[in-house]
């Protein structure tokens, strides 16, 4: 069965959007529906993710501090009851920050020159995995 995926692609700020657009184009070519969030605060990202009923959030962080934004994002997701929605991050993420945000729950961190193919495959795997988990937990609730 064709895996239907809706992804919200948001970013921290304005400058240097090359990766954002290149990735949006690659994801669309791979059959993933991309909702372009543009520049959004973590709260706005969560609102859009709910309204657009996406499967996964892709967050480009380049200028901002991931260690500040990611905790806000995850707290808001929890408050809005979408804590299980997978989040992937791409951009300029210092190595030390990568460790921290993965501990918070970020599923994958992409860096410059990760190939588009690799990123697309990884996103598909993450969504598939999250659906399996959701199905499992729904089954266990109905049991």
């Amino acid at each position: 069965m064709e895996l239907r995926i809706r992804l919200l692609l948001s970013r921290d700020d304005w400058y240097h959007q090359r990766g954002y657009w290149v990735l949006a184009s690659a994801l669309r070519d791979a059959g993933i529906e991309v909702v372009l969030g543009g520049i959004q605060t973590p709260e706005e990202i969560v609102q859009t993710a709910i309204q657009e009923d996406v499967d996964i959030i892709g967050y480009r962080i380049m200028d901002a501090a991931p260690k500040i934004l990611i905790p806000i994002l995850f707290d808001t997701m929890k408050a809005e009851e979408i804590a299980n929605m997978p989040v992937v991050v791409g951009g300029i993420i210092p190595q030390a920050d990568e460790v921290v945000i993965k501990e918070i729950g970020v599923k994958a961190v992409f860096h410059p020159f990760n190939t588009l193919e690799m990123i697309v495959e990884r996103i598909k795997t993450i969504v598939l995995e999250s659906r399996r988990q959701r199905d499992r937990s729904e089954r266990s609730i109905s049991d």
């Binding site: 400058y15 520049i39 605060t41 501090a65 500040i68 210092p94 190939t115």
Partner: protein, 560 residues
């Protein structure tokens, strides 16, 4: 450039040579006979006088300081006007950036630039929820005139031309307010700002105000460097840049200015990337295209108007986290192309710029790179030393011809401002193509898609340095910066005279609503303690910008 007889005589000899090459190469099946440049221009293995058949020395190349300025805008090249070593600076609070400026000057930098943390469109105050995580991170936090005063503390504004990396009139207002306090005559005040040509009142107000009142300040800017970072080709870098400049000129002429009043105050911000000769040819073609377009199509007469002057920052998308010290080598080669191409001012990316804000250590290496090129290699002693090379001249002409074709396409779509969206989509297409070429290994990047090291020695060396050096070897952002900045901001808010500020705000609103030039009342308002967020808020209200609040910068084309 060459007599017909020579071209004719060469025909047979060259064909014999090419036949020989084909034979040699036929024995090496993997050898590709045709290459593409980084921007996708097919190049041959060899160039000769036969490729320069249509080129006339005096008309197309000529002498430095003479139309069409292919060989440079100054008659004596770098001898009369040395290279400006100008590193992008902007980190933490104004104190930290001021200290970095002073450090860079102590290392021999001779020009300054500052990038505020709102350079990317956020124009909110540092305590606004929309800029969490951004305060003093991608640039320096500058909320009020007080911050600008701290930034310029001990900096001689007449000696060191400062470039403000922002489109925000607020920054210019603070710059002017400081000059006023120091009793500097605006007629002597130099400097420049990244006021990209765009269809926005703010942009045109800055240009108009400077043209009339601060005649040595470069108020207009073609930020094609960041368009290249966005993925465009060198032809687009020239062509879209000129097309956007043309649209800006049309708008200013409509405001009653003469082309020669302001054209010489529009400068270029350009890139210098991996394909060495393509870059050298690009700088040459850019100057030629600029001079020709504005003389032929706009009737500009002042030679200064026709001189395309450039600040260059080396290409960053090919800088890598992998084997990070290789970035020193890359940036040095890119910088050499820029100097051989005759740019006026240069920033060489630091080796850590792919993954961090440069430290004093890495930034000083960037300054040293330029000094070594300038002082040790002899490159700056001869003007346009690659001029006359068959390949360089052919490529210069080729790039100019392609750029003019592109300018005409943009014009047929309504000009640089109206064709904005089309240009963006073209740039994005080029960026996707470029990325795929790296993904497929068609374009090589050492440490990434070729010569990959499993145990990256260079990265390990950097980590050792970070651990044991008695200086900062790798920059790390601390959220203390934001706390400190918010305290400063609140202090200004507490201490300013609110009555005076309210009057200044009211005046600013009136002028904005009447569509008169916003700079004079803005200068008065910043002196009363207006913050950047308040300025943005006033603009949003007056212009009735839909629900955007302080994000008032229009989608800049540079961001492609």
């Amino acid at each position: 450039m060459f007599k017909d007889e020579l071209i004719h005589e060469l025909k047979e000899i060259q064909e014999r040579y090419e036949q020989e090459v084909r034979q040699v190469l036929s024995k090496i099946p993997e050898a590709e006979q045709e290459h593409m440049t980084f921007s996708g221009i097919p190049v041959k293995l060899l160039y000769s006088p036969r490729d320069l058949a249509g080129i006339d020395f005096l008309e197309d190349i000529s002498f430095p300081g003479q139309f069409p300025y292919t060989r440079g805008v100054f008659p004596a090249g770098y001898l009369t006007r040395g290279l400006h070593i100008r590193q992008v600076t902007g980190l933490g609070t104004a104190e930290e950036t001021n200290a970095r400026w002073k450090f860079l000057l102590s290392q021999g930098a001779n020009a300054l630039s500052v990038v505020p943390d709102d350079g990317s469109g956020h124009r909110a105050d540092s305590d606004d929820k929309r800029v969490r995580g951004l305060v003093g991170k991608g640039g320096v936090a500058l909320d009020t005139l007080y911050d600008y005063e701290t930034l310029f503390d001990g900096i001689d504004m007449l000696k060191y031309p400062v470039h403000l990396i922002t489109t925000n009139a607020f920054a210019l207002a603070c710059y002017l307010a400081i000059a006023e306090t120091r009793a500097i005559d605006f007629k002597e005040l130099r400097g420049s700002m990244s006021n990209w040509m765009r269809p926005e009142i703010e942009c045109l107000d800055i240009l108009e105000y400077c043209a009339r009142n601060v005649p040595l300040f470069n108020g207009g800017y073609l930020d094609m460097r960041n368009v290249r970072e966005g993925g465009c080709t060198v032809v687009q870098e020239i062509g879209f840049g000129v097309a956007v400049a043309m649209a800006g000129c049309d708008a200013l002429i409509e405001r009653g200015l003469d082309i020669d009043d302001f054209l010489h105050r529009i400068t270029w911000f350009v890139n210098s990337g991996p394909e060495f000769f393509e870059e050298v040819a690009k700088f040459r073609a850019m100057r030629k295209t600029w001079a020709r377009i504005f003389r032929e199509r706009y009737g500009a007469k002042d030679p200064k108007s026709l001189m395309c002057r450039m600040h260059c920052q080396t290409y960053a998308p090919t800088l890598t986290l992998q084997q990070p010290f290789n970035n020193l080598i890359r940036s040095t080669i890119y910088a050499m192309a820029a100097v051989l191409g005759g740019v006026q001012s240069l920033h060489v990316n630091s080796f850590d710029e792919a993954f961090a804000i440069p430290t004093e250590f890495s930034a000083s290496l960037s300054v040293r790179t330029q000094q070594i090129i300038d002082l040790e290699t002899g490159i700056t002693n001869v003007i346009d030393p690659l001029g006359g090379a068959f390949y360089v001249e052919w490529l210069t002409s080729k790039l100019e011809a392609e750029a003019i074709k592109l300018i005409d396409t943009v014009q047929s779509k309504g000009g640089g401002f109206k064709a904005w969206d089309w240009m963006c989509s073209e740039i994005r297409k080029a960026a996707v193509k470029n990325q795929k070429e790296f993904d497929n290994g068609i374009k090589k990047l050492v440490g990434v898609n070729t010569l990959v090291e499993d145990h990256d020695t260079q990265l390990r060396a950097l980590n050792v340095l970070k651990e044991y050096a008695d200086f900062d070897a790798l920059y790390e952002y601390s959220s203390d910066v934001a706390d400190k900045q918010i305290r400063r901001l609140n202090k200004v808010r507490r201490e300013r005279d609110t009555e005076k500020l309210d009057r200044a705000k009211k005046e600013l609103r009136t002028i904005l609503a009447a569509e008169q030039n916003m700079i004079p009342p803005l200068v008065e308002a910043v002196k009363c303690g207006l913050t950047r967020g308040e300025f943005a808020q006033i603009k949003s209200e007056v212009y009735n910008l839909p629900g955007e609040g302080p994000y008032v910068c229009s989608p800049p084309f540079v961001l492609a």
